[in-house]
């Protein structure tokens, strides 16, 4: 190992162990998922605008393209062509760095989620990590830095307050989020998301009473974690102008915006994976779907693989819909109420849930 040329060794080992074909497939998977994620983010923004318009009895953006379907494209060009204002009072390095720090973790968390069973024998997950859920938690916990640095680097009152508020809120709910999932891991005995999905082939986890409580705590905490209403205190337009991104414009603002929606998508995907069976379908599929399609012969695709991906995708859209629906339904919490809910309600509740789950499992053995 020491004697061979090291870079060449690493590369040839990787290729010889997995084959050129496998490396190409994996790179293709990464590219497809990252682009799909970014595409989904921009269309979630459009969906949010259309649905909020529908709820408020307005029209929403409907001019660009058919039913406004090209609006995200127009938006992205607008963001690219806007003037890059860099106010004189900001800390230049961190001002530019903060949106990047916010977006990169948001993209990285998604990769451990299995979004389908297999397609042409290839598992539909980018990185099947043994510590899957912990990976998501640890990377998501870095998103705080984007917000707190953005607020601090702006060197202005409202962003500073917004950044501080938001980071305190995010860390508070991180605890209840992590604790709420402990019963799930007790039940499944693994942190690997693929194994968690496989454990749900007979019964989706939210049907278990303890795990349903876990799901509720997790869902509400994820609203707080993604800074969405009713917990959008970091932004709270009426008191902090725009919160931590008040001083941001053009593409730098867009990155914060994209990060928020990417986090929303990841949270939805995680809820589907942990509690609602992931890519599984609740009924038996017809046998014919698992025969390979002949006209796609070189790839030996089975339609059933696509059905599973579609199932995952639809469930995820359902949760995204809930995110948007809640935003236009509930009023904002006050900050003391927010902290109370996190520390005095969810934390004890999640701890008690772990305890009850332990007793339950001990008795049911």
């Amino acid at each position: 190992m020491m004697t061979e040329p090291m870079i060449a060794g690493l590369w040839t080992d990787t290729v010889s162990f997995f084959g050129v074909h496998a490396v190409a497939v994996v790179l293709l998977k990464i590219a497809v998922v990252l682009f799909a994620l970014l595409g989904l983010v921009s269309y979630t923004v459009l969906a949010e605008r259309r649905i909020s318009a529908f709820i408020q009895d307005r029209l929403g953006p409907n001019r660009v393209g058919w039913f406004g379907l090209l609006q995200p494209v127009a938006d992205s060009f607008k963001f690219l062509l806007k003037e890059n204002v860099m106010p004189a009072h900001v800390n230049r390095i961190y001002y530019v760095l903060a949106p990047c720090i916010a977006l990169a973790p948001a993209l990285l968390t998604f990769i451990v989620i299995p979004f389908g069973n297999t397609l042409a024998g290839e598992p539909m997950v980018i990185a099947n990590l043994n510590v899957g859920v912990l990976w998501m938690f640890s990377i998501a916990s870095l998103g705080v830095y984007g917000i707190v640095l953005g607020g601090w680097a702006s060197n202005s009152k409202y962003p500073f307050l917004g950044g501080i508020r938001s980071s305190a809120q995010m860390i508070s709910y991180e605890i209840s989020m992590g604790l709420s999932l402990i019963p799930v891991f007790m039940h499944v005995g693994s942190l690997n998301l693929t194994e968690i999905v496989n454990a749900q082939s007979h019964r989706w986890l939210f049907l278990h009473p303890n795990l349903f409580l876990a799901f509720l705590i997790f869902m509400i905490s994820s609203f707080a974690e993604t800074n969405r209403l009713p917990f959008d205190l970091p932004e709270s337009e009426q008191e902090l102008v725009g919160g931590y991104h008040t001083e941001y414009g053009s593409m730098k603002f867009a990155l914060f915006f994209l990060a928020e929606y990417a986090n929303m998508i990841t949270a939805s995907a995680l809820m589907v994976t942990l509690f609602f069976g992931g890519w599984q379908v609740p009924f038996a599929l017809p046998e014919s779907l698992s025969h390979p399609v002949t006209w796609l012969a070189p790839f030996v695709f089975q339609p059933v693989g696509f059905v599973y991906i579609l199932s995952f995708f639809l469930k995820m859209l359902l949760f995204l819909g809930v995110f948007i629906w809640i935003r236009w339904t509930l009023p904002r919490f006050r900050y003391d109420q927010l902290m109370n809910l996190g520390w005095k309600v969810f934390l004890p509740m999640a701890l008690a849930n772990v305890f009850v789950m332990g007793i339950w499992m001990a008795l049911s053995v």
């Binding site: 090291m6 690493l10 990590l129 510590v131 990976w135 938690f137 830095y145």
Partner: protein, 162 residues
């Protein structure tokens, strides 16, 4: 994996040196986060994946947030950041050197096996099993340590209200 080991540890040492050399606290904090990242990379190379993730989760995701909060509380402006002065630097370097010599002497005379990699399954399940069989006492003592920290927090907040 040797190449990655040298890259990770080299970058880690570089960042660690910059943490000390840098005069701006926030930049130092960010560099320290990078140090934790490269350390997590080293854990991955040892196949201790659980430790690697915990390293990022606890140190980069929790402890450094605390550090950053302290910096925000203190209101640091670049004009107020002190210049380096020669005596302090000299003192720091000599203490550092003394520590290094001591460390080296200890390592030289220690009975620890050098170079032989331990054959240990660092998966999350084996760690769980070990933690609750062989290492129960340290584990329970950890809870007392955390309790002491919590009591300290209570004391701090009481001081603040008085």
């Amino acid at each position: 994996m040797n190449l990655l080991f040298y890259i990770f540890s080299g970058l880690m040492l570089l960042c660690a040196a910059l943490v000390v050399a840098n005069r701006h606290p926030v930049t130092s904090a960010m560099l320290l986060i990078l140090v934790f990242f490269f350390m997590a990379g080293l854990f991955v190379l040892l196949e201790a994946f659980f430790l690697a993730v915990i390293q990022v989760l606890v140190y980069a995701g929790a402890v450094m947030v605390l550090f950053l909060f302290v910096m925000m509380l203190l209101d640091i402006r670049s004009s107020q950041i002190r210049r380096q002065n020669a005596p302090a630097m000299l003192a720091g370097l000599s203490v550092g050197f003394a520590f290094w010599v001591e460390f080296w002497l200890i390592l030289r005379h220690s009975a620890l096996p050098v170079g032989a990699p331990m054959n240990f399954d660092a998966g999350i399940r084996p760690i769980g099993k070990l933690l609750f069989s062989e290492f129960v006492l340290p584990f329970e003592i950890t809870s007392l340590l955390l309790l002491a920290a919590l009591v300290g927090v209570v004391l701090l907040s009481q001081k603040e209200t008085r």
